[in-house]
Symmetry: C2
Subunit: 443 residues, 2 copies
């Protein structure tokens, strides 16, 4: 069933990627079940099984053949983002295509490739030595791309399943650059809001009523403009209150990370970089909380004063910031700045996630760095932080008291959530080498 | 062919309304031809004929049986707005339904009902007396709802057809209230822009890039917020430069028009009225130029920093304001207020229309007031202004030097451009009485 040669691993990954397991689209519910069954089958040697949750099922498995050795939990997910506009894909998103040392498909790097790496690590070790160096449990969920809504309930109701686990190792996450092996030691939290501005009872003809009423689009723009100062810093009172100061040592460590503003700017094609003064770009990206308006929406391209205008906002949090306090600060800001002539409200979205961090001195981080040195002897691994959010890591910490090591062989340039997502084939053997060494060190 | 009894008029109107002549939707091109042919057939007694243009055809006709008497041009349109969301209609938009003294259908009041009133006026007069009191030409176009793009070219190429015309009488427009007969003596102009703000080369993950770049949604909101002061007045330098002062006599005349702020506010369901201080609500509606953001659009309800954010704006102009000067003022404002980190541009939409006005002392206005007194002996007609735009009136003036009398039996509460559009059946006989008297007076 499971492959141990690289070419076989690729065939396995291809079969996995051909299943359109899009968790957010109800039409794909049968594909979700197929993908879960595929993963369980792949883990049959470890009692792999599909377990129901309130939402999409998850897959559990365990190999506990080393009594007395420590036990880790390997986390990953089998669900993927929607493909988006298929015309933007060079090859169809669910017909995996190998080109130039890469495999292209939706989910290739987020997170099916990295999941296959972890599973195949176990297969190779078992084939070679008949055993793993430590006990391994697997939890591969199907709701990561929709915020893991069923995971907290499942973990709470099944704590005893994880009582023997010492640390979680996540196959989800991403190395920051293809040529610099890295371990992420922090991820930002996330809280999402909608700002809703309502005016008259229905859309109004802008000729017949213009000049007599407040336009919800104008009011929304005023509110949104009030959220940031011209220099890009957040103007919401209290927003930065709980942010811990960056120590001199931390700033020095960040300054040692190779980062060139101009190459970064060119890589994203922005006219110029922009943000809070007093911080380097990397400090802003990794250590400063943000408040971004992801969507503005009101009216249409015709002569109307719309009834309603909306903005969707997300705030990325850093450690010590409490999602509830950020919600409170935003609600108070909006109340204070609400323009006349309209009604304004904040709708907080469920599923707020605090920031996550693991100490640079945590034994698992040390093991990860050594495992990366083993797989990449020519490059010194970097400790990095990511601006993305890992709900599962925050949940494992809050509900099970477990730290999560982010040990993914995805790379952040591999078009995650975008058209033409891919996974570098070289990461398969590198990843298996590193995972094997990691398990040996954690044992 | 043509009806002369009210019940027959209603049947004719029903047949006209059943044709879905939606000019903006290419799928309705055959319906546009059917509607044009229907109108030409209705005007067969006046040599009614379908005439090609660069876009949808228009219908011409003429009865010139009074040599020596003056000649007028009756203007109207056979095209209609799209139905919008059909679920919001109580009866289907193209299945005319008579209820409570009203006929419901898309186009009932804009502009098929008023066109039928004008045409049937001629039929009744011919049936009763064998002649009309003056010479009448008809021009019923099929592109009013899309800004009359082919009309200027047609008028320019066919000036000689209109050499004998002394005044245009438009069946398009609207009385302002059902219980107060009115003649509109001014309509606002219109100029439309898009504001486009571009950031990076593609949408960015808000976690991976938030804090490093300007968000086009934020920049757009800042720009939009800069367009108006908190009190609702337009902050664009030069915007009010060409606005002619409102004379003491004009203000006094406006103050005599019955208008209650609270009833108006309640009628549109706005939380409160809002706009330039120093002017009454009616002065703002009728005599002040406006700048409205009809649409805001950027990103989506997920964790993205969008590549681009856009606003669609329209400005309603008053007499003496030049569309080109308003474009220039807006472009300069945007250049002055462009936030850093993004590129910003103004895209001016084609088809700007200056404001239109006809003197309250114009003989046609005097005739209209007297004709309305004849049809509505219990109410003194009001001279009103409208915030909407009448491109055709501006074109007749600019290209043919002709003034247009707005003499419509539509009423502004009849759901123009909205679901459940209707036309009051009482307007048919009232309208025919008034049109007959108007022609007699203009003869």
């Amino acid at each position: 069933m499971a492959a141990t040669q690289s070419s076989d691993v690729l065939a396995e990954l291809g079969a996995f990627l051909a299943i359109p397991s899009v968790s957010v689209e109800p039409v794909h519910a049968p594909d979700m079940r197929r993908a879960a069954a595929w993963v369980a089958d792949e883990l049959a040697w470890a009692n792999g099984r599909v377990v129901e949750t309130e939402g999409h099922p998850l897959v559990l498995a365990e190999w506990l053949g080393r009594p007395g050795a420590s036990t880790i939990l390997v986390y990953g997910h089998y669900d993927v983002q929607p493909a988006g506009d298929e015309r933007e894909w060079e090859t169809p998103p669910f017909e995996p295509s190998v080109r130039d040392g890469r495999i292209y498909a939706r989910g290739a790097t987020d997170d099916k490739g990295p999941v296959v790496v972890a599973v195949q690590t176990a297969r190779r070790l078992l084939d070679a030595t008949g055993a793993l160096p430590l006990n391994v449990r697997f939890l591969i969920e199907g709701e990561e791309e929709i915020g893991s809504p069923s995971l907290p309930g499942f973990l709470t109701a099944n704590r005893e399943l994880f009582a023997d686990v010492s640390v979680v190792v996540s196959a989800d996450g991403a190395m920051w650059r293809p040529d610099e092996p890295s371990v992420a030691v922090a991820a930002k939290g996330l809280v999402a809001f909608d700002l809703v501005v309502e005016g008259a009872a229905s859309d109004l003809h802008s000729g017949r009523h213009g000049g007599a009423v407040q336009n919800p689009n104008h009011a929304l723009a005023q509110l949104v403009a009030s959220l940031h100062a011209d220099d890009g810093s957040v103007s919401v009172a209290g927003f930065y209150d709980d942010v811990e100061p960056l120590s001199v040592a931390d700033r020095a460590a960040l300054a040692r990370i190779p980062f060139d503003d101009e190459s970064y700017r060119a890589s994203i094609g922005a006219p110029e970089l922009h943000g809070e003064p007093g911080w380097s770009t990397l400090e802003r990206l990794w250590t400063r909380p943000t408040l971004e308006v992801n969507e503005l929406r009101g009216g249409g391209p015709f002569t109307v004063i719309p009834r309603v205008a909306r903005a969707h906002l997300t705030s990325r949090l850093v450690p010590a910031q409490r999602p509830a306090a950020i919600v409170e600060a935003l609600v108070a800001h909006v109340a204070r700045h609400a323009p006349p002539g309209v009604s304004v409200r904040v709708e907080t979205q469920p599923g707020a996630v605090p920031a996550y961090a693991i100490g640079a001195d945590h034994p698992a981080v040390d093991a990860a760095v050594r495992a990366l040195r083993h797989a990449y002897p020519d490059a010194e691994p970097l400790l990095v932080r990511i601006g993305g959010t890992l709900p599962a890591a925050a949940m494992f910490e809050e509900l099970l008291g477990l730290k999560t090591l982010l040990f993914s062989f995805s790379t952040s340039d591999e078009q995650l959530h975008a058209p033409n997502e891919f996974f570098r084939l070289s990461r398969i053997d590198e990843g298996i080498a590193a995972w094997s060494e990691l398990w040996r060190l954690l044992a």
